[in-house]
Symmetry: C2
Subunit: 328 residues, 2 copies
């Protein structure tokens, strides 16, 4: 393991536990520390917390400063929002580590969170380290992948991406996040509070517009409940008819010349068929259909696969459009 | 046009003429010269040769040295093979220009043409310039695109890419290249001479293996004629029943653990339905189906879209896996 990249896992929820497990399976990576604030995890061996059948000899620490191991990169999987993760990211940079983060708002922060992004970028440059925000969505399906596909387009007039997720196969927190089991009224109340639904549509829109040289003049977003017509049962939820089994979210983004991007994210229990469709209108017209892009497996894969590129990248806050292609 | 990248088009066949036209349509690019050895083109205004309805004031020159314009990047679209293009590439580097080339063997030359590639790489570094080989295939569909899709894979066990092209919609030289109108006997004779069929399968295989850390131990290739059952007519060919209407080419590539990559390229007149399918077996299994990736339009788009990234890249011979994603 002498040439292995040394990684600290920061955040041991379902995604963080899975990235940590995958790191331990890769010969060119070495898990050297694990951080989580949950008192039920602190002090236990990381192997036990992430579900490995062996001992790693790495006790989970409540704070990064307590890890004490020499490391190269921190994989950061805690939460979606700048106001919640900024201090964590600054702490990691101050400790001298590169960061791969699955925080949605980091995937392309130069529009909605430009000021906070500039602070992170400045801190990264000062530390000589790199921060990458990535994941499957945002980070891939609705932004960097359609952008890479435009490489074979002479002209792009419009981009549509539609993602349909059968949430029955996803982790419990995801099923909860899309409103599973709620009444329609409770769904709408929580939506009005602003933190219901998929985070990242506006980050994807911003990456598409900025990279393709369009000026975003208006973004119309909506989130609607998908209501169960018959009872739906998963490992985590029992949804009677009339209750919410998921959500249907859209974003329509306009330049001065009309709509340039439309994004649809529909995630619901028992939703069939699932899959993703990218439709690019221009010269030539292009259609790309994807099957199998399981959001949990894929986000974990992307976070771990991006470690090598992030370590090699120039200092600063970067996004998926700035790095050479990430690969398995 | 003060900030525009100044481009010389080197090679004015169908692909080169189309790239030159697209360059003139892009506000951030400026066509400043055109080179072709064809005596029927030399001395005429480039606009007339590439099919523009206006005058560019750029006479086509037989040699790069005669262009005399200050420039940044040369788009090189002449031929597929190292033994034919190496002197051209070295001449362009010596003149101090970055190069985007559609030469298939340049797309990933580190396996079959490692020695020649090293010479080009050394010349590029000495000149402080970048050489990129790209296109839709090789360069995208069977290599950099599947590689980018593996970014969301935790494990990759096997990659299959199948491309079916309806050649009826393609340029005359392409229809000729796939054997249209030949007898089966003539097809097999020409195939035995080694320059029949699509160039680039082994470059794509090499990029996949090298990037994903596999050792290529065996590559089995085959090219078979596709024979017309009924008469087929295009703008360029009149194929009676029993004659060749295209080719079916396969490559099966093995590591020590068995087959890791299989590539199929089928291009024929009146071939329906066309389209591309990428199938990645691993965790998760992924399927990607593409429609509309017209090889001529797409290669032209890729060559022009890659100009900005190539100009910004570090010196040396680079491939599509080394650059940040190319976009429209």
């Amino acid at each position: 393991m002498t040439d292995a990249i040394r990684v600290i896992q920061y955040g041991l929820g379902p995604i963080g536990a899975a990235t940590a497990r995958l790191i331990t399976e890769r010969g060119n990576l070495e898990l050297v520390g694990a951080v989580d604030i949950d008192p039920a995890k602190v002090g236990r061996d990381a192997a036990e917390v992430i579900g490995l059948d062996r001992v790693l000899g790495l006790p989970v620490r409540a704070r990064l400063a307590e890890v004490g191991a020499a490391a190269d990169v921190v994989v950061h999987t805690t939460n979606s929002y700048f106001d919640l993760f900024t201090d964590q990211v600054l702490e990691i940079l101050a400790a001298g580590f590169d960061i791969v983060s699955t925080s949605e708002e980091l995937c392309f922060p130069w529009s909605r969170n430009a000021e906070a992004a500039s602070r992170v970028d400045a801190a990264a440059r000062a530390a000589g380290k790199t921060v990458l925000g990535t994941g499957v969505n945002p980070g891939f399906l609705m932004d960097s992948l359609p952008l890479f596909i435009t490489s074979i387009a002479q002209r792009v007039d419009h981009i549509d991406v539609t993602r349909v997720v059968n949430a029955s196969e996803r982790r419990g927190p995801f099923q909860a996040k899309i409103g599973s089991g709620m009444t329609v009224e409770a769904f709408r109340t929580k939506m009005a509070e602003g933190r219901m639904g998929h985070v990242g549509l506006s980050e994807s829109v911003a990456m598409l517009f900025d990279t393709l040289g369009r000026k975003l003049v208006r973004l119309e977003s909506s989130v609607e409940p998908v209501v169960a017509e018959k009872a739906v049962k998963t490992r985590f939820f029992d949804v009677p008819p009339g209750r919410v089994r998921g959500l249907h979210q859209t974003g329509h983004a306009y330049s001065d010349n009309g709509e340039f991007v439309s994004l649809t994210f529909r995630a619901a229990l028992d939703e069939q068929p699932d899959g993703d469709t990218i439709t690019i209108r221009g010269c030539p017209d292009l259609t790309v259909k994807l099957k199998g892009t399981n959001g949990d497996l894929a986000t974990v894969a992307m976070a771990v696969n991006a470690i090598r590129r992030t370590k090699a990248a120039a200092p600063g806050l970067v996004t998926m459009r700035d790095l050479p292609i990430v690969t398995a």
